[in-house]
């Protein structure tokens, strides 16, 4: 029997039992569509989180005081006996491989402007924030450089904070009060939105030295570093270590590069996508049992037909291939329809809920399709072998 004849023959048998065939494929379609939809949502989430992390660029490293981490955060957020100072940040920014360094102190205080006041986040930072954090000023300018140690009392407002405190009025040049200290507004940042739960728009930026005074602290929480792209992360880490050990006498700090963080996030998120794919595949497995059942029934129903074919000269191999290709036709149809349903559903979700990040995970879609075909092959083999083993005489005799 020629392959084309085989294909035509099996297609005709499949389409002669329309309801049965469509129900069998429906089982597979549901399973495959579930895998496609779930993994696409997983992949979308993956991309979303990585984008959140890389919006600051990838040539970043941060130094925190203390060698141990607490609560999954560095010891910097709490007290430490081994402080990082603004002088450390200045020292690091002079390294050849470092493009810019930002000392960071984070806190929370009441901001007063005229009659209005608001409690919000305060970030004590350096002049290179726009460069390192990839955020621009919308109005005015950012904190001036070259005065890290004895800065003037300037403040830059986040987008939302400016709107809250000054409404439509121009905030530039206005005097505001943070805690009990007075500052002059010299700039407003552009809209940036939430950054991993931290609202960058409801924030005020002041010089790090002023923030240390305001909060009565001696240690920076971290130093963010932007390194030049022609240097490898490892060489940068080495240079930072050398400088800080020379300054402190011992290694009492931790360095994490953006790449290390990204790798960690990447592996966690990939596992998550794999897990949802596995959940979806349970349905695929049940669909496979469905094909197996229907093929078994088909063989037992068509015993006399098999007998006739054998009597007319079809050999065992032909019968085997006939039934196997029928199973394959069912599963391929299910695979195609499932992938199509999944893709359509993802497009619909994307259009209906733009806030939910989705991305078609082609590797998983391909895997699901191949899995469907393999399922067809495996669940077709046993019934096909059963059909092929039938004795023609016996088969003809059963009615």
């Amino acid at each position: 029997m020629r392959p084309t004849d085989l294909a035509l023959f099996s297609l005709r048998t499949v389409s002669s039992q329309k309801l049965r065939s469509s129900l069998t494929t429906l089982g597979l379609v549901i399973g495959i569509a579930a895998v496609v939809i779930l993994t696409s949502i997983g992949r979308g989430l993956h991309r979303f989180v990585l984008a959140e992390f890389t919006q600051f660029g990838t040539h970043l490293a941060s130094v925190t005081p203390g060698k141990k981490t607490t609560f999954g955060l560095s010891g910097a957020t709490i007290s430490t006996v081994r402080p990082l100072s603004i002088a450390d940040a200045i020292g690091l920014s002079k390294l050849e491989s470092i493009a810019a360094a930002v000392p960071v102190v984070q806190g929370n205080a009441r901001i007063e402007a005229g009659q209005k006041q608001r409690r919000t986040n305060v970030l004590g930072v350096g002049a290179s924030v726009p460069e390192v954090w990839k955020i621009k000023t919308a109005q005015g300018r950012f904190l001036p450089s070259g005065e890290s140690n004895t800065p003037r009392a300037f403040a830059v407002l986040g987008h939302q904070l400016a709107a809250q405190l000054f409404n439509q009025a121009n905030p530039l040049g206005q005097r505001i009060r943070i805690g009990n200290d007075r500052f002059r507004v010299i700039g407003v940042m552009e809209k940036k939105g939430q950054m991993l739960g931290f609202d960058m728009d409801d924030t005020i930026y002041i010089p790090a030295a002023k923030a240390l005074e305001l909060f009565d602290r001696e240690s920076l929480m971290q130093i963010d570093l932007l390194y030049k792209s022609n240097n490898s992360a490892a060489s940068v880490v080495k240079a930072i270590k050398k400088t800080l050990i020379a300054r402190h006498g011992l290694e009492d700090f931790s360095i994490i590069t953006q790449n290390q963080m990204l790798e960690k996030m990447d592996s966690i998120l990939s596992i998550l996508t794999l897990a949802v794919a596995a959940l979806g595949s349970i349905s695929l497995l049940v669909g496979a049992v469905g094909i197996l059942t229907i093929m078994t029934i088909a063989v037992s129903e068509r015993i006399s037909e098999i007998g006739l074919q054998r009597a007319l000269g079809a050999n065992r191999q032909t019968i085997f291939w006939l039934f196997l290709s029928e199973a394959l036709a069912l599963s391929t149809a299910g695979g195609i329809a499932g992938v199509a349903t999944g893709i359509v559903a993802i497009k619909a979700i994307d259009a209906a809920i733009p806030a939910l990040p989705v991305q078609l995970a082609w590797s998983y879609i391909g895997a699901a399709f191949i899995a469907a075909i393999i399922i067809g092959a495996i669940s077709g083999v046993a019934p096909a072998m059963k059909a092929a083993r039938l004795e023609p005489l016996e088969a003809l005799r059963t009615e």
């Binding site: 709490i78 409801d202 497995l285 229907i294």
Partner: protein, 401 residues
């Protein structure tokens, strides 16, 4: 037709097609078993976390310095404030009649050393009330006393891991422990607690809060843990705390309060939602199994056309035929559900044997609802084929033979 007759008839019909029946039961049981197993995992994780939070203490209110008006953001868990929470603030809270215990906390990171061994670890500046609030148990010696709080004597209580690492074989009690540039006498060792919500008491050194403030050169507190007298007094206590601190801070409301039950409730909700989502994803497989039941029932109706014709000719009503085929579908799905439940229990038991420290339970509602859902799926998918069988014309059905 008696109910028992219908059952017997349906059972006989199923029994003649062993392989087919086995496969349907397999499909149904895969679905039921996976739903049960995932619910069990999710539910156990939920219980575990809720239990962990409850073991933090009872009727707990956590006071943090600072407050943001940013909506939807997290509370200011970390970060500095211009006006600190001080020890005096903490002591002033005792004015409230609804408060049973007050434990001020300062947390920091410092190197600790003893007999030439050094490591860096978390230092907790605390008072004797911490033991009561966090339900800490001692392995040796005693905890900080009330007089240690007021005089700030140079004593410390260490966790099990610190004891192992710094005092390996020697008795730690009465030994000196150096923290940065100060010396503290070890007066107690905590019983092994394991990690609870990120705070590892086994790797902790607890010193009087006054000493910690000197060590870290700060007079601010990281947290104040407050235990209210009863669950009902908690709202009262929260209001009192806010008022007292406001008075002391020149009328400024600059603290954030987190009550334990709000945290527990949040986690409870999140984890329940995750469990439900995961279980319903697995539940899709039950729908697939239902389609299989429908398909096979359709096949068996068309195969048994002659039989149906005969039954009708002998006087069987539409209702009876309908019931007969529905019973068949229901029996199939119940058998699948029972096998699934057994498989699920086996899987849970295996997991439990592999990870004995994580208690796994399958809630009764999950068991019952999974069987109910399986039965419902069977009945729904049996409806169409049963209707088809009932509508057959007896003459045509008999003649088809």
């Amino acid at each position: 037709m008696l109910v028992s007759d219908t059952l017997a008839q349906a059972f006989a019909a199923i029994n003649t097609q062993r392989l087919r029946t086995g496969l349907i039961i397999l499909a149904m049981s895969i679905g039921v078993a996976s739903v049960n197993m995932l619910i069990s995992l999710g539910e156990s994780a939920r219980r575990y976390i809720v239990h962990e939070f409850e073991s933090l203490g009872t009727h707990l209110v956590i006071v943090l310095p600072g407050r943001t008006e940013t909506t939807g953001g997290p509370p200011p868990l970390f970060g500095e404030t211009p006006r600190d929470l001080t020890l005096d603030d903490a002591q002033a809270l005792s004015r409230s009649p609804h408060i049973a215990a007050i434990a001020p906390l300062t947390i920091g990171l410092a190197p600790v050393s003893a007999s030439g061994l050094e490591r860096e670890t978390n230092i907790f500046g605390a008072t004797h009330a911490l033991r009561r609030v966090r339900h800490l148990t001692m392995a040796q010696g005693h905890f900080l006393s009330a007089s240690d709080d007021s005089t700030g004597s140079a004593v410390c209580v260490i966790g099990q891991k610190i004891r192992e690492q710094l005092f390996d074989r020697q008795p730690p009690l009465g030994q000196w422990l150096r923290i940065n540039d100060r010396r503290f006498r070890v007066i107690g060792v905590l019983a092994a607690e394991g990690e609870s919500i990120g705070v590892d008491f086994d790797e902790m050194v607890i010193i009087p809060v006054i000493q910690a403030q000197a060590l870290f050169n700060t007079h601010s507190l990281f947290r104040i843990l407050v235990e209210s007298k009863s669950a009902t007094a908690m709202t009262q206590a929260s209001a009192d705390i806010r008022n007292i601190i406001k008075q002391r801070h020149e009328g400024e409301d600059d603290i954030t309060l987190i009550t334990q039950d709000s945290v527990v409730n949040t986690f409870d909700k999140i984890l329940s939602a995750i469990t439900l989502a995961v279980a319903s994803i697995a539940g899709i497989s039950l729908a697939v199994a239902g389609i299989l039941v429908m398909n096979v029932m359709l096949v068996s109706v068309s195969q048994r056309t002659a039989e149906i014709g005969l039954l009708k000719a002998l006087g069987a009503s539409k209702m009876q035929l309908h019931g007969l085929f529905l019973t068949e579908a229901a029996l199939l799905s119940i058998a699948g559900a029972i096998v699934g439940v057994v498989l699920g229990e086996l899987a849970i038991a295996t997991l439990q044997a592999l990870y004995p420290s994580f208690p796994l339970t399958l809630p009764a509602w999950a068991l019952i609802s999974s069987i109910a859902v399986a039965l419902l799926t069977g009945l729904l998918s049996g409806w169409l084929p049963a209707g088809k069988a009932a509508r057959l014309n007896p003459v045509a059905a008999l003649a088809k033979r």
